[in-house]
Symmetry: C2
Subunit: 332 residues, 2 copies
């Protein structure tokens, strides 16, 4: 039987899994990402873990391949990273070359958000619905995006497709880390929610202000979501902005890609019921492709998947790691 | 030797061509589109023309297939049209079924803007640059959009991909024909240019006002472009808006698709030098994927095509017809 190694390299955690399609995840190694020790130290940790898992499972299984996900921007097929915001100091780092030199064999590399989308397609919502193409938005500290077409990650010409976190939602909006103004990420990431909450507090939002005083350094998007669920109108208004922004972003994606499935994942999806109604309302208003193809429409009903679906992710925080395992399996 | 039949069915003109890869276009039939006589009369004209060309060229050549382009929205593979703005009265029309019943064989059907993109890929800029993937915007009365990946039109799940003319550029902008507000089409089509010129006149733009009085019913985007080229500041400002809007739209497309080539075609491209500098400036400011991959960048230089290119179309108004001929050839 075959197995693969999947790696999810994040700015905080490094996770390495052994996976078999027949048995699922066999073992996971979790380590802190030693960013302060430099990129080569992180690659050493990564390769040590990969080799330990290969050694431990090669008696029982045969290795298909190794898949690694890391934060973008990632140039493919070179496997070179370019100014990744979550891996400071890694600009122009020859990631593929360093990993392959240590492991002594080819590794498949991809952006973490692409691998989360691949996992949703192969093991999550796409698998359940019987569709092999989808677009996923991961609402976390930033907003990740991955596009899967016919079961394969869509990379574009240079590996940099799927950056919908930086679609312009409001041309005159706040400045984003990417230097654009009014990106989706500014309005619909966890960071964006906290920023909008602080703005609301500075303008006199009392409920949020009290929570901020109580939570201190713990004040987070989760705090704001709980306030909204508890009826705080200022907090609810923030999630209306989250939803409307996602709706505008989805309208761009639906009009351009016309996929059967759009998946929303990441930590912020716990607040799905707070923002999703606004997102769908905005999407319907802004995309005539959506109106023509939404569930219940004449066109949508003509297809087995029932029309353009927008749904919360099924796989949780393991999506990226599972996608890396699938990528490794595809190396057969 | 092989030949194909290509049809470009527009709201005004119906053109039918016989084409051979070895000899190019062999013959073109041009007719008015008899919309007032109903959809079946138009299909009759179309099929009569197709059969006449097949009969005239079948002695010398062997027929590969028939390709037909028409305005969207078009549901594929059914070949059914849905509320097409340029074919009033055709909602839910079973175009494929009616054509195939008359001709007695399979026909390949696609949206006209997709076929213009296919022609630029196979015979125009893509062919020249050696790239087989591109995204094309056709700036005409409206804005058409087509995406070609690896030499084939990208359709999405239901045939409705490539509607970038309706990307939201300004969420609070003017109402578009698609019912959204602030679409690209509102700012960067010929219709949009005339609308902005009339607005400027109503606010006291004297030069444009004089031209409007002289031209009367002939006042068009071309008039505004000529005024801008002649130094009229109000007209130049309109093309700045055209360019900035295209730049925002391109930023969405570059961030999502990461293609090697974005082609701008249609009648308004005659004003390329008036709007392109603003478009590229806005694109650079809004898309970090573009900044990382533009010509001259580290990533861009690593690829044979030199990085993300934005260029005016090479093929003129025949692009859609040529693309239909290519589509017919692909039916082999």
């Amino acid at each position: 039987m075959d197995f693969s190694i999947g790696v999810d390299l994040g700015g905080t955690n490094l996770r390495i899994a052994a996976y078999s399609p027949a048995s699922g995840v066999l073992e996971v190694i979790s380590l802190p990402t030693r960013l302060a020790s430099g990129s080569l130290a992180v690659v050493d940790d990564l390769c040590d873990g990969v080799q330990a898992l290969i050694a431990r499972h090669s008696d029982e299984y045969e290795l298909s391949g190794i898949g690694i996900g890391l934060p973008g921007p990632l140039e493919l097929p070179a496997g070179r990273v370019h100014s990744p915001p979550n891996l400071p100091g890694w600009d122009q780092f020859e990631f593929r070359r360093e990993v392959e030199a240590r492991i002594g064999r080819h590794v498949a590399i991809d952006k973490d958000a692409n691998l989360a989308a691949l996992a949703e397609a192969g093991l999550g919502l796409g698998f359940e619905m019987g569709v092999s193409s989808l677009c996923m938005l991961t609402l976390g500290t930033g907003i990740g995006n991955g596009i899967v077409l016919d079961g394969k990650v869509y990379h574009g010409a240079m590996g940099m497709a799927g950056e919908a976190g930086h679609l312009t939602i409001d041309p005159d909006g706040p400045v984003c880390g990417c230097k654009n103004t009014g990106c989706l990420e500014v309005f619909a990431s966890a960071t964006g929610v906290v920023r909008m909450a602080r703005e609301a507090i500075s303008k006199g939002a009392e409920g949020l202000g009290r929570l901020h005083d109580i939570d201190g350094g713990q004040f987070s998007a989760r705090t704001v979501a709980e306030a909204a669920k508890g009826g705080d109108v200022d907090a609810q208004r923030i999630f209306e902005t989250v939803g409307r922004s996602i709706g505008i972003g989805l309208a761009e994606l639906v009009n351009t890609l016309n996929l059967p499935l759009y998946v929303i994942g990441g930590g912020l999806v716990a607040a799905w019921e707070l923002f999703a109604p606004f997102a769908l309302k905005e999407l319907r208003a802004r995309s005539y492709v959506y109106r023509l193809t939404e569930p219940g429409s004449a066109v949508g009903s003509a297809f087995s998947f029932g029309g353009t679906q927008v749904l919360p992710a099924k796989l949780g925080t393991d999506a990226g790691l599972l996608g890396a395992c699938l990528l490794g399996m595809n190396e057969i």
